[in-house]
Amino acid sequence: MSRALAELRHYPSALAGLGIIVLLVLMSIYAVLAIPYREAIRLWRGGETLWLDTPRNALPIWMTLFRPDLPRTIVVGSRGALRQEEDLGGGVRQVTLTLAFDYPYSQVPDELGLFLETEAVQRLPHAVLFWRPPDGSEIQLNEFTVDPHEVYRISADARLQRDLGGPPEAVLFTDAQNPSRVLRGRHQLIIKAFLFEKTSDMRARLVVYGKAHGLAGTDHLRRDLMIPLLWGAPIAMAFGLLAAVGSTLSTLIIAAVGVWYGRWVDGGIQRITEVNLILPGLPILILIGTLYSRSIWVILGVVILLGIFGAGIKTYRALFLQVKEAPYIEAARAYGAGSLRAVFTYMIPRAVPVLIPQFVTLIPTFVFLEASLAVLGLGDPVLPTWGKVIEDAYSKGALFSGHYYWVLEPAALLMLSGLGFTMLGFALDRIFNPRLREI
């Protein structure tokens, strides 16, 4: 065993595979420690209120290395902003909030959003909004009665869009004479609020959404893709590993038992294997996913059940038939070793060299199976996984609309884990099976 491990050093592909696996394991540990399970679920399934400040379908931040002009998100709060108060008499106060920010980018932002928090007992405040671009002009945006938690999506205001003659974020950030020139410099949003009560107050937050966010970008629900990409690693590893352990170990034991007892036990096992071979695995998983449960653990259980009588039984059977005739088994019988002892301590260990490479190469099969189910829309309903990201991206037409990062990031991680395990598995196969090594 240790000799085999030492020999791994001579296979560069094995070392690369091992490196990838170590990386994925480290990533899994980091994910579980940095974002606890509950927190990850909350962030992934919590809805859009958790992700107010992140842009929709933003590129990963490292894309700014190639495209330095990609705008980043700018958030301006009313806390440090210029605030003027004027008593208009009759209990009415006018509060003017000036939210100012410097816009250094040569592309218009992705979107504009304004979040207003007000406190009022009976009469809600009224607000009038003006935009002052760096060129000194002033544009009135809208006026409305402000709800306690008002969300005014400036970009989605259809009337404003009609009045301005274009998408607000484009018109407000470009030169009126030359629409291709982006107005860099100090932009100001002026909120004139009329407060009708003494205790009334208003806070504002302007979000100028950029086109790049986080290490992985965001999806259509503004969620940071870092969460599913990080959390996908432990889930994929756990699913792949458990499914591979469950199916290979049970297959091995059943093959050994069948060969040991022979006759009808062996025959029965062979027949069950043949039935299992024509059982359509993926359609059955789909059946179970649609009709009963999509929980990853139920699916895992079914995957293992379907894998018990897999094609591996035939390979192991051929091997065990030889082992059974070996002199040391005869010796064991002669000194009176029981069947259980013979199967578990003398036969099964002989299959380990065949088992280990197969086991390692099986893991990515299950990782991809989980992703496949997710792509079909049958992924776990709560867990953030790589497959779910691909499904979201695919169903939202990411490839048509050019959001390539959305598909490529989870795909790259899947590909890495696939390559890592198979490269290691193939090298192990050559080490453990000397017949392959000579060639």
């Binding site: 071979l277 024509i278 993926l282 059946l287 099969t365 792509v375 049958l378």
Partner: protein, 373 residues
């Protein structure tokens, strides 16, 4: 036992017995496979009916049929509506009793098994076939030809390409090409749909030279030749995806296999006799390894059938897999259960066809020494 026979009887029987043995072998295999299919379908039905879903399908089917027969019955048409509803309810109850829907779970599943084997799969809830039929059988069987077209042609091409490549590589192993194939073998870990996404990204989204998906362009061309060309153009990317996911591993494993066999003593003898390398390959390497190659080909084909579900979805290919995907989206249980059964049949047919090929190739079957079990 063959040695015990007198020489003359062996000779006189030789010609017909080969055919007979192949037929007998095929017949026993067919019988065994049919039993396997029955068990497989029974398991599928058991799984589906654990939540009573097949019961629901059957009840809907009965109501549909009673409704149709009533609407064509002039006597029933003349009855007042309440009376007619009562008659329909009675008929439905009678039919349900006939089918055994009131019997216990296990007895019911046996009835369903009989129906499923005859492909009486009930009515789809939301999907229809291209001809507008709502019979699940038609919905599914309409979609079968595109799937067969794509997968059978891809698999046959793959088979020949990889065997020939593998033979060529085994002739000069250790060469750069050989090393490259070994290094590329792990690329077979991802399934075909995974490569499909990349291919769409490159050839459809970025380069815009091949279609994103579908089977023919819209609107379909009038002339048959142009129609076929359009289908071929749409087949390139899915076939390429299928190739990428299997080709290197197949070449690698078969090359290794051929190499092991080419170090056998009888190959050395053949070389010493001065036979050409082509003759050695054909008679002494390819011939004894073919049964194993066929078996592994069968396994990949089986894998490909079920993998088709997602590949077809990714490429919008109007086949069986996409029908199943649509059924999931529409929650059309009869179609989902029906597709699973059709897949079981498809896998069995695959195994059977390859079994016959196996029987034709494997000398042990011809000579009558096949190991039972």
């Amino acid at each position: 036992m063959a040695e015990a026979l007198p020489l003359i009887t062996r000779k006189s029987r030789a010609a017909p017995s080969t055919l007979l043995r192949v037929v007998a072998y095929s017949a026993t295999r067919l019988g065994a496979l049919f039993l396997t299919v029955v068990v497989g379908i029974y398991l599928t039905i058991l799984i589906a009916n654990m939540g009573g879903y097949v019961d629901v399908i059957k009840r809907a089917e009965i109501r549909e049929q009673v409704g149709i027969s009533v609407s064509f019955d002039p006597v029933m048409q003349r009855l007042p509506p309440e009376e007619r509803q009562k008659r329909i309810a009675e008929l439905v109850a009678l039919e349900e009793q006939n089918l055994g829907l009131d019997r216990p779970f296990l007895a019911r599943t046996v009835v369903y098994l009989r129906d499923a084997i005859q492909l009486r799969l009930g009515f789809a809830e939301r999907m229809t076939s291209d001809t507008g039929s709502r019979l699940v059988r038609n919905v599914i069987l309409d979609r079968l030809p595109p799937t067969l077209l794509l997968f059978v042609s891809a698999q046959i091409l793959l088979f020949f390409a990889s065997v020939f490549f593998a033979l060529a590589l085994s002739r000069r192993y250790g060469s750069f090409l050989d090393q490259a194939v070994i290094a590329l073998a792990p690329t077979s870990a991802p399934p075909a749909w995974f490569y499909g996404i990349f291919l769409i990204l490159i050839f459809a989204a970025l380069l815009r030279i091949l279609p994103f998906g579908g089977m023919v362009q819209a609107p379909p061309p009038e002339s048959a030749v142009r129609y076929a060309l359009s289908v071929l153009r749409h087949m390139i990317l899915p076939m390429l995806a299928l190739f990428m996911t299997t080709i290197f591993l197949a070449i690698y494993s078969w090359r290794t296999f051929f190499l092991i066999f080419s170090s056998e003593d009888y190959v050395e003898v053949a070389k010493a006799k001065g036979l050409t390398s082509r003759a050695i390959e054909r008679r002494y390497i390819l011939r004894p390894t073919l049964p194993t190659i066929i078996t592994s080909f069968a396994l990949t084909l089986i894998g490909a059938w079920t993998g088709a579900i997602i590949l077809e979805t990714v490429f919008n290919w109007p086949g069986l897999g996409r029908a199943l995907f649509q059924a999931i989206g529409l929650y059309d249980t009869p179609v989902i259960v029906g597709s699973t059964i059709i897949y079981a049949y498809l896998l069995a047919v695959t195994v059977f066809v390859l079994d016959i090929v196996y029987a034709l190739i494997d000398p042990r079957v011809k000579v009558g020494q096949e190991g039972r079990g």
